[in-house]
């Protein structure tokens, strides 16, 4: 391994960028374009899928069978993204997603992984004590709820389809979309109405 790798990674990055630009392999415009595309993927995309699944049983079935096609059906760009799997929470069954080896995250539908998802504490604790872990968000599941932890170790990316919260019966799809947060689709929180 090159001793140069011990240098400040921020300086390494600046140096590498300058070399790639000098070689004609990259421009500032390429970076800006890629950043804009990446910033466009946000938890709002996944929230739209969840809300649609709550109101449309046909869409729900599609989402559970093939998350990638379900995302594309709502106009979410999935080309080049890993296959998306969807984990269905049911009364008495809760899912939590982690990547213990690195930070695999359903970026196409949730955006950049949040800081906590990438932390050593989250990665270590999730597979062993998910109840204690999600309590850090104040999440307490009904007694008797089974928790299945999904360690995202390979080519799929996983999102949770959470339970539609009690009291939300009168809400339309747009209002339901606004209820769904990033953590609800990883399983550290659950959607609540009127929080």
């Amino acid at each position: 391994m090159s001793a140069l790798l011990e240098r400040d990674p921020r300086r390494l990055f600046a140096a590498v960028l300058s070399l790639l630009e000098a070689k004609g392999m990259l421009s500032e415009a390429d970076l800006a374009e890629r950043i804009a595309l990446t910033d466009a993927a946000t938890p709002g995309q996944g929230a739209r899928m969840v809300a649609r699944a709550w109101v449309d049983p046909t869409y729900r079935a599609l989402m559970l069978a093939d998350g990638t096609r379900a995302a594309e059906a709502l106009g979410i760009p999935m080309r080049g993204a890993p296959p998306l799997g969807v984990l269905e929470n049911r009364p008495g069954l809760h899912h939590l997603v982690v990547c213990t080896l690195c930070s695999c995250y359903p970026r196409a539908v949730l955006g950049y992984p949040p800081f906590w998802f990438k932390s050593a504490a989250y990665r270590a604790r999730a597979v062993r004590d998910p109840r204690g872990l999600i309590a850090e968000w104040g999440t307490v599941l009904p007694a008797g709820t089974e928790i299945v932890v999904v360690d995202s170790t390979a080519d799929y990316r996983w999102m949770v389809l959470p339970l539609r919260p009690a009291g939300s019966e009168g809400l339309d799809e747009a209002a339901l979309t606004a209820l769904v947060r990033e953590g609800d689709m990883i399983g550290v929180t659950v959607p609540a109405f009127g929080r």
Binding site: P83, G85, T100, L101, V127, R128, D129, P130, R131, G132, E146, I147, V148, V149, V150, D151, S152, T153, A154, D155, Y156
Partner: protein
């Protein structure tokens, strides 16, 4: 290699390639040597153990395998199930 069907009992190979030199392993340490049950075949993907070194990579079956966390850790466990994506060559069918 015979494909593994949902419900098949498997044991993850108790193998530690990272002790033998540079390696990139997507089978978490905590499932090695452990028994689980195949949930489903997720598809076929190139072997990341080769892709990581820019080597030619065989296409391998990828399975979702379920484990019982309480059989993995002796204490401090509140998970009821654990689903892990594992490649075929890591799995030994059990009777």
């Amino acid at each position: 290699m015979t494909p593994l069907a949902p419900g098949a009992r498997v044991r993850v190979r108790d193998d530690w390639p990272e002790t033998r030199g540079p390696a990139h392993i997507r089978t978490p340490h905590y499932v090695r040597g452990r028994e689980g049950v195949v949930v489903r075949h997720l598809g076929d993907f190139p072997n990341p153990e080769d892709l990581a070194f820019a080597r030619e990579a065989a296409i391998l079956p990828l399975y979702h395998v379920r484990f019982a966390p309480r059989h993995i850790w002796p204490s401090g466990v509140s998970a009821d199930g654990l689903l892990v994506e594992l490649f075929g060559p890591w799995l030994e069918a059990q009777r």
